[in-house]
Amino acid sequence: MFSYRLRWDLVADNVGGLVSGLVILLQITALGFALAMILGLVVAVARTARSPLLRGPALAYTELMRGIPLFLFLFLVYYGAAQVSPVVLSPFVAAVLALGLTGSGYATEIYRGALQAVDPGQREAAFAMGLTPGQAFRDVVLPQALRIAVPPGMNLLVALLKGSTFVSVIGVADVFYLSRIVSQRFFAPFEMYTVSGLMIIAVTLCLAGFAVLVEKRFARGDRTSS
């Protein structure tokens, strides 16, 4: 079946590099996710605002971020930013920005759904108790909305991890970057890509399992609190 001699020893030689490449991917995913969740909350507040001057741009922003392929957006951020501004981004920062900005479009929709899912009676009750609109949002509506946002938020995290797999195309030194280098130098594409692929799938499965745990934990909290 195999027309060339397998060199698994090359994989063994590069275990350290593969692991640190994986850590870079996890860092990009985590930072991108944090950016997406923070930015998404800000845009979601604008998206649910009463003023059309806030709602319009917020809607346009989410449509744009969700309609452009992340793969293309990565190139736009990395090469485009260097062309139109004096700022030269490192591949790592460009990857975090692309993931975070694209992710924020999805995070906005998650927050919006969650904010709208909170019973309006909660807000009215908060007003009736004399809370200001800001207080009612911060202390009553937001905590409940965040709880609702957790399961779809975890799905977004898994999606961002999958999206982070191709950041090597702009030169981030991740597992696939290393695989390419090693394959080009010693010709072991099957071995290197098999191992890096399995590493990614293992992490994805762990994260998906973790997501299920978090969802269960939040479901339990919901029952005790109500």
């Binding site: 195999f2 062309q83 961002l160």
Partner: protein, 250 residues
């Protein structure tokens, strides 16, 4: 910052040709996935345990795999190791089909499960054979329920097709990257390409919203006069979202 979109428009015909390849690849992969996904959904409901287990394993493996990882492994790993040579175009279509069939299998399965059990019982009570009951009563309703989610996956397949540029298919992303580098105008080229993807994505979601209205037999076409549309628990309320629900699914 001096932008020059004139350069982009002088190679616009090249980009349009590449855009057509993107759409053909995405649609071909998705069409295969529709058939395979329906088959897989049926396998997951099979009476034979091994068939169920195999379908379960297939669906969960490919829903967990990232498209980039899969295409790189198939193209650079497996194909090189085994000496199998297939064209980039077929490899791209095949990979999209593999992934989307797993997603669609779940969509169709959920659609079948969402049909009221009483429908099947009523069909059997009226003397239909189990196969007839499924074909004539359950499947059409399941298909209608599955429509919005199917539309979202088509939108994602179009966006995912950009990843296929890594194996060298001369589709929109690939050609844009080549031109951007050659003309030293990355910003302009990527912005125009982004606009093309947005147009395709909006066309796909408009098509599915149209289908959804047409197939909504409870109501006169084009109007929402009686009652409210059924909403699923999915984000977006089970309607086709203009730009899909998943990101970097691949």
């Amino acid at each position: 910052m001096n932008l020059d979109f004139g350069v982009v428009f002088s190679s616009f015909d090249v980009m349009l040709r590449a855009f057509r390849i993107s759409i053909v690849v995405a649609l071909a992969g998705f069409a295969i996935a529709l058939v395979a996904g329906a088959g897989l959904a049926l396998c997951r409901r099979s009476r034979l345990r091994p068939v169920r287990l195999l379908a379960f394993a297939y669906v969960n493996f490919f829903r967990g795999a990232a498209l980039y990882v899969l295409i790189i492994w198939l193209w650079l790993g497996l194909a090189v190791a085994t000496g199998i040579r297939i064209g980039t175009l077929s490899a791209g279509i095949l990979t999209l089909a593999l992934l989307n069939s797993a997603y669609l299998a779940e969509v169709f399965r959920a659609g079948i499960d969402a049909v009221d059990g009483g429908q099947k019982e009523a069909a059997l009570a009226m003397g239909l054979a189990p196969g007839q009951a499924f074909r004539a009563v359950v499947a059409p309703q399941a298909l209608r329920i599955s429509l919005p989610a199917t539309g979202n996956h088509l939108v994602d397949a179009i966006k995912d097709s950009a990843i296929l540029s890594v194996i060298g298919i001369p589709e929109l992303m690939r050609e844009t990257a080549r031109l951007a580098q050659f003309e030293q105008r990355p910003f302009e080229f990527y912005v125009v390409a982004a606009g093309m993807y947005l147009a395709a994505v909006y066309a796909a979601s408009a098509l599915f919203r149209f289908l959804e209205r047409r197939l909504d037999l409870d109501r006169p076409a084009g109007r929402w006069s009686r009652g409210r549309p059924v909403r699923s628990t999915e984000p977006g309320g089970g309607r086709v979202q203009p730009v899909g629900t998943a990101l970097g699914r691949g």
